[in-house]
Amino acid sequence: MAQKEQSSGSIFTDLDDGSTDEEVNKWQRTFRLWRETLRDHWSKLTDELSVKLSMLTVAGFMLIAIFAPYIATHQPLQRQYQGEAGVLIDKWVEPSLLGADSEYLLGTTAEGFDIFSQLVYGTRAALMVGLIAAVFTAGIGTLVGLVAGYYGGKVDDALMRLVDFLYGMPLLPTVIVLVAVMGPNLWNIIFALIVLQWRSTARVIRSQSLSLRERPFVKAAEVAGASDWHIISRHLAPNVLPMTFLYGSFGIAWAILAEAGVSFIGLGDPNTVSWGTMLQASRAYSALSFGAWWWFVPPGICIGLLVISGFLIGRGYEEITNPKLQ
C-alpha cells in the first residue's frame, strides 16, 4: 500500500544487521542481531499502555525492594514492645493509617511484628522468587526447546519424554513435597519451581523451533555450511525470543503465586518475610475472625499487582508473536 511494504509483523524473518563479513567478527554480529531484535520488541511493547503501566509497577516494586531498609519503619521480624519498659508485646495494634493512636502504619500482627515493614520487606522475597525463577524457567526451557526442535530425532524424543513426565507431576503438590524434603527455605522453593516450570516454555519453543527449521533461510544456511551453533544463535534464537520473554513474564507471575501458595500452606521460609507467609500467619492467628483486615488484605493486593503486571507484559509479547491479535 504505502511507500514500503512493511513486513506485517511476522517474527520469522532473517534479520539483517547490515554489516559485511570482513568488518566485524562473528560474536559481535550475533550480539548486534540480538540487540536489534530486543530494541524492535521494546518499541512495540511500550506502545501499549497496559505494558507501560506494568513495567512502571514492577520498577516501583523493585525500588521498594532495594530501598526497603529506608522505607520500612521497623525490622519486619522484630517483636515490638509497648512503651519504654519493653515487657508487654505490642500485638494486634490497629493501623495508624486508619486513625488509630499508634506508631504503626498498618498495625502489628498477633506476634507483635510491624505489618507495614513486613509488607515492604516482602517485596524482596517476591521479586527474588519471581525474577530468578522466571529467568531460569524461560532460559532452560528455551535452550531445551531450541535443541530439541533443531536436532529432532532421538534428542527430541528423549527431551520431550522428560517434558511429558514433568507435565505429569501436579505443580503445587510436587513443589510442596520437594520443599518438605529439602527444607522450607526461599532458595529451595525457587529451585523446586524451576525444576518443574521450564516444561511449558520448552514445549512451546520446541514447536516454534521445529517450524522455523523448515524455513528457507535456515535451509539455506545449512547448505552454506553454517555450524549448528551459528544457526541456532543467529537464526532460530532471535526469532523465538519474543516467546521466551512471554514465558519469562508469565513465569514471574506463576512463581510469585506458587510461592504464596507454598508459604500459605505452612512451608514458607520461617526466616524470611514474604507476602505468602504474612497471609499464612494471619490465618494461623485467625485475623479473619478478629476482623484485622489490615493484616491480610494488603499482602494480597501486592501479590495481585505484581502478578498482573507480569501477565500484562507477557501479553504485550503475545501481540508481537501473533500479529493477528493486534
Binding site: M1, A2, Q3, K4
Partner: protein
Amino acid sequence: MSQLEVEDLEVYYETEDGPAQAVDGVSFELEQGENLGIVGESGCGKTTLAKAIIGILPDAGYINNGSINFKGDDLTEMPDPQRRRLKWEEISMIAQSAMNSLDPVYTIREQIVEAIETHRPGTGRVESDEIVTEMFELVGLDPERADDYPHQFSGGMRQRAMIAMALALEPSLMLADEPTTALDVIMQDQILKRISSIQEEINSSMLVITHDVSVVAETCDRVIVMYAGKVAEEGPVEEIFDKPYHPYTIGLKRAFPNIRKTNQDLLSISGYPPELIDPPQGCRFAERCPMATDRCREEEPEAHYKNGLRSYCHYADEIDVELRPYADEPGTWNRAAAASDGGVEQ
C-alpha cells in the same frame, strides 16, 4: 438499464492516522450477461471495491459517498435485512481457493445447503441434495465427494467447490476475487473455461478481480484498470490490450511476457503507488509517469474518449506520439521516478 451501475463510489477505511481512501470516486456500468475485469496492483482498491459491492466491508470500512445501483436499487441505501436477502441469491462470490475460504469443520455439502436453506427456507433435504449434485456436475466434481471436508480436496477441487457453491442459487452477478491465484497454469485454464461456459448457460454477469492480466484477457468482455483507488482506464478488452491510452496501462502491458516476442525483457514501472491516507492532489500516477507535467501534479484528469476507451489522462491525445514509441525502452519508466519536473524527454 444496466444490471450494475456504480457511480462515484468512495469507500474509505478508518485508521489511526485518518481515513484511507481506498476507493476514491469510481464509476462504471455492467450489463446483464457481461464479464467485466478489474485489474490493478495490490492496494489499488479493487478488492475493497468488490467487498463494497458484495457487502462484506470490515468494521473499519465505510461508504463515504456514491452509489451502487443493482437492478435499479441502491445497495448503499438498502436496509440490512433486504441487503442480506440479495446476498448470494442475486450477488454471489467466488473466493480464492485458499485453504480457509471454506469452513474447515463442515462438509462441502453442509456449506452449500446452508446457503440454500438461508435464502430458500423449506427447500427440503431431497431438493437441496439435488442442487448440490447438479452443481458438482456442472463444475466437474464427483458428487460422491460432497460429504468430504475442505482439507480433503486439492486446491483445484476446492476452487471448483467454491464455484459450485457460488452458483447454487443461480445468481445474476458473480464476483470472482483472484479466482486462479492459487492454481497452476493448466488448472487455471480449465477453471476459466468452465466458468465461461457456465456463465453462458445461466446468463449471469461476472466481475473478475485480479492482478493477473492474462486471466482478464481470457474471460472478460471489458476491463477496468484501477490505480490508487481510481479508474485509470476502461473499455473493451481487445482495444485496451491492443492500444491503451493511459500511461499506466501501457506500462502494465510491458510488464507481462508476450509469447510472440520471447526475447523482450520485462519492464517494471519503478516507484510505488501513493499513500491512500493523504493522496496527492493531481493525477495519482504522476509520480511514476514518464509524461507527467506540473499540470498532472495539480489537476486531476478527466475522462478522455479514444478508441472506444475511457481514459483518465490529460495527455491521452498525445500518447500516440509522446509515449507509445518509447514504451519499449526501460529508460522511459525509470526516468519518471528520478525526474524532478515533468515533461517528456527524447
